[in-house]
Each structure stands twice: as structure tokens, then as C-alpha cells.
Amino acid sequence: MAIADDEFRRLIEFYQRMVYSIALRVTGDPSTAEEVAQDVFLELHRSVDQLVGADHIRYWLRRVATHRSIDAIRRNSIRPEAAAEEWEDDQSVEDDAPISSIRLQARLDELLRALPEPMRVVVVLRYQEEMLPDEIARMLGKSIASVKSHLHHGLKLMRRKAAVTMKEYVRETA
């Protein structure tokens, strides 16, 4: 039996922020993210009969949103704006500079865009969706060690990039 219109609208309204945010942070492009999020909900509309309960729907939406976002990155050949190694090797950066969440939020998209795709995906799922490494590993079909490694390197790169861009930001706005 197919889902009724009002029930489907309720699901969209409840999960749209989650699905759109995953797509936005993984693809780094608002119009691509909107397209991906729409496609994810259309896929839900076709598959909703096979999903049982809110937890199953949330898990399914996260998984499909993540995979469709990765597909979109690969299809549109969206690349990180700078090679991660460029700022990984920059020893002049001070790692211990305090970074506030407001300043971090202002530069978040830029920081995420600079991460290579596998790192970006696990960082989004870990810190936006607050999923545990083993949950991420199960969802992506990867080993826990691989997820932890991507998280570790992703965070390290973001910290360095944040330290660089925050400095620039302070200089720009001063």
C-alpha cells in the first residue's frame, strides 16, 4: 500500500533539515544539495512500504542522503578547493589557537569543502548527525578503523585550516 499524501508531507517536514544539511555539507553546493534532497525524498516515497518505524526511516534517509550526495560529488566532479596536503604540511600554523564555534560556523562550509570526500562524509556524519564511528562504518560499509582514520585526519586538517582561515578572518575584519 502506498503512503497517503498528508503522511508523506509530515515525513518531509520532519526530516527535511536533516536530509538537506547532510547533502549541503557533503556536496558543498546549495543547488546540488536541494536536488539531492528532493531525489532522496522521492526515493523514500517509492520505498516507504519497506521501512518500519521512525528509526528505520531516519537510518534509511541518512544512508541514502549520504550516498546520493557522494554520487553527486563524483558526477559533478566537485573537488576540494585546495589539496589537503598543502595545509597539512604548513608548519607555521599554530594548532592551539582557540577557535570559537561562532567563528567556526562562519567558516564551516569553507573548511568542509577543503576536505577530501571520504573525510568530509565521516566528519559530517560524526559531528552533524552525532553518529558513532561504528554506526558510520556500518552505514558506509567500511571498517571502523578506516572511519576512525578518516575522522582523525579530517579533524587534523580542519584544525589546521581553521587556524589559517581564522587568522585571515581576524585580519580581514580588523
Binding site: R17, Y20, E34, A37, D95, L155, M158, R159
Partner: protein, 123 residues
Amino acid sequence: MSVKQPEELSEEFEQDKFERELTRAMRSVDPPHGFANLVMARAQAEVPVRARLLWMPRRVQQWTGGVIAAGLLVGVFFGEEAHLRHQREQAAQQQFETAMRITDRTLEHVQQQLSDAGVRFDH
């Protein structure tokens, strides 16, 4: 078991702090205005006609079924009527052709008899 140096402990703390800041910064964002309406419109455009009929309320389904059945009955009735009319037309045509053939043959026979009797038809 190795004892951590103060720098290592500081780095761990800073890492935790950065993670906390990151979690705070990565709040979910709203999709563009009208997102739900767009998805609903696309979903409804995808639904096949048969599925739409199944989604109708029972009373509407019954009415729709009744209208379709009545339409079929009317169609069958008019179809049968047309078929009978066609059959009647064909029978009449055959009768007419048979009558014409008999008339032709009779006329030829009479003409032959008159000709044998010496009657000439000069036009």
C-alpha cells in the same frame, strides 16, 4: 603504561574542545522555502493513474467504479447496435443484388424471345 606529557594532554583537550565547537557549529540548516511543496508536486506527478485510483476514498472509488461500469455497458450496447445495423445493411445489399441479377436475367430472356420472334429494337 606510558605517562602523557603535558603537551600531549593539552593537545587532547584542545582536540576535544575543537570537536565540541564543531558539533555546535554544524547545526542542521533549513532547506530553501517551498521545499516540501516541490517534493510533494514531484511525488504526485510520479504516481501512476492506477495507484491514484487506489488512493481514493472508498465512496469515490465506488462511484468511479460505477461510472466506469456504466460507460462500459453503454459502449457494449452501442457497439452491439452498430453491429446489428451493419448486418442488416449487408443483408439488404445482398437482397438488392440478388433481385437485380434476377431482373437482368429475365430481361435478357424476354429480349431473346422477342429477337427470336423477329422483333427488332432499333434505337
